[in-house]
């Protein structure tokens, strides 16, 4: 079964992770722009970061036979930095039009401050202007109320509900998200957020329509194989192969293809690997024989 991990921060991960994901059946990933663990000190670092996730990371993924796409945004945490936020917003348009950028995200709320709400709304407008869907981060603290506030801000923006993926759901939030007609993302973590068994129970209760799962793996304790591992749990628990496939391929594909940039022919098969290629003179290899596919 081919799989899509539509939320993973590969810039934080190693080439071993790419190899393991490819071996486990992950054909495509989406890398949402997020924060780097410590606050950025100036907007210029955002420019380099955006460039790396639309260029270098895409190259790295392809070297292991994985399609890589990105979403671009000022993340909610750093929306609170009033000396940085406006400059990031100003640079975003030239990244939103790049061929591999398939949504505006992660936008949303973290501390649920006024500044977060302001820049969330601004970026909803940008998404409408550039005909892109939005990927919405819901807060980890005060999740229930914070998710509700996200839904309200999205509604106020008048963005088409179909163009909205609300992420990091759990049992407390999924009903409200579905009632608004949005897509519901679930980040499967080894210890926190949602685990594979709970996800399976959600699928049994709510079905597969507009349900998406991801690993949200980053620089913290996380697992880039949570999508394939959850597939295994769902199949073992009797969820049909068709339903599982819809969740881990068709749904993320259909949601992000609303950008008009995920052409089916492009990602139905893996990109062919040619590890002899260089990016700005850099190779992912360190002395190994390059794999070159026809």
């Amino acid at each position: 079964m081919k799989m899509f991990d539509p939320h993973i921060h590969m810039t934080s991960r190693t080439t071993d992770d790419y190899q393991a994901m490819a071996n486990a059946g992950v054909n495509a990933v989406i890398e949402p722009a997020f924060w780097m663990g410590q606050p950025r000190t100036n907007a210029g670092t955002y420019e380099d970061y955006f460039m790396s996730i639309v260029e270098w990371e895409r190259f790295r993924a392809k070297q292991f036979g994985i399609h890589h796409f990105a979403t671009i945004a000022l993340n909610p945490k750093e929306a609170n930095n009033l000396y940085l936020a406006d400059d990031v917003i100003k640079m975003m348009p030239r990244f939103l039009v790049k061929e591999s950028v398939v949504a505006v995200g992660e936008i949303g709320l973290d501390d649920q401050s006024d500044l977060e709400e302001k820049y969330f709304a601004i970026q909803c407008e940008m998404a409408k202007e550039y005909n892109l869907p939005i990927l919405v981060h819901t807060p980890h603290r005060d999740k229930k109320q914070g998710t509700q506030r996200c839904l309200d801000i999205v509604k106020e923006s008048k963005i088409n509900p179909e163009m909205v993926l609300i992420d990091h759901n759990n049992e407390q939030t999924i009903k409200g998200v579905r009632d608004r007609g949005h897509w519901a993302g679930h980040s499967i973590y080894p210890f926190t957020k949602m685990d594979s068994e709970r996800m399976c129970a959600i699928v049994k209760e709510f079905g597969s329509e507009k349900i998406i799962i991801n690993s949200a793996a980053d620089w913290g304790v996380s697992d880039p194989l949570m999508v394939p591992k959850t597939v295994k749990v769902m199949l073992n628990e009797g969820v049909s192969e068709g339903t599982v496939s819809e969740i881990v391929w068709d749904n993320p594909y259909n949601f992000f293809n609303q950008s008009g940039k995920l052409e089916k022919l492009l990602i139905n098969d893996r990109p062919s690997i040619n590890q002899s290629q260089l990016f700005e003179g850099n190779s992912v290899l360190r002395g190994q024989d390059p794999i070159i596919q026809e």
């Binding site: 606050p39 000396y83 973290d110 980890h140 603290r141 229930k144 109320q145 709970r198």
Partner: protein
């Protein structure tokens, strides 16, 4: 800008304190924010201490709020457990977020400065939602939840 930053960071603690207090008097939030953003944990503590003592009207609150977004439990507990600033100047929503974050980073809630006075019904709801979320995930509750519940009304 780089020259000013270098002269600050190359100075002695006494010289840094003079510069910091001068910036607070001048209300130069932008430059102090910049210094803060490129400081390490100990240097950040010095700035927060200065603000706690010198910013009598909470005009530099943006720096405290930025500091609260840290992933360092050392820096976070320094602010929550030893500084008066959050109790004095944080709004209810900002204070509540600090308490919730204390649970997330697993530090004591009862030691948060002002917790008894600033306990509120919204925070009670947030803590109850948090307990429900942890129970759904079959995860144990951090000690801070019990501490919070033992604070009384």
């Amino acid at each position: 800008m780089q020259d000013l930053l270098n002269s600050y960071f190359l100075g002695t603690t006494q010289e840094k304190l003079q510069i910091l207090n001068g910036l607070i008097q001048e209300k130069n939030i932008k430059f102090l924010f910049k210094i803060f953003s490129v400081s390490d944990t100990d240097e950040k503590k010095l700035i927060l201490e200065c603000l706690d003592q010198g910013d009598l009207n909470g005009e530099f609150k943006a720096i405290y709020l930025e500091a609260m977004r840290t992933n360092s439990s050392e820096l976070f507990s320094f602010m929550a457990h030893t500084r008066q600033y959050p109790k004095s100047f944080f709004t209810e929503a900002e204070y509540n977020q600090m308490v919730l974050k204390a649970l997330f980073v697993d530090i004591s809630v009862q030691k948060i400065i002002g917790i008894k006075e600033r306990k509120n019904t919204k925070l009670n709801t947030m803590i109850n939602d948090y307990i429900e979320e942890r129970e759904l995930a079959n995860r144990s509750l951090p000690i801070g939840v019990e501490e919070y519940n033992n604070l009384g009304d």
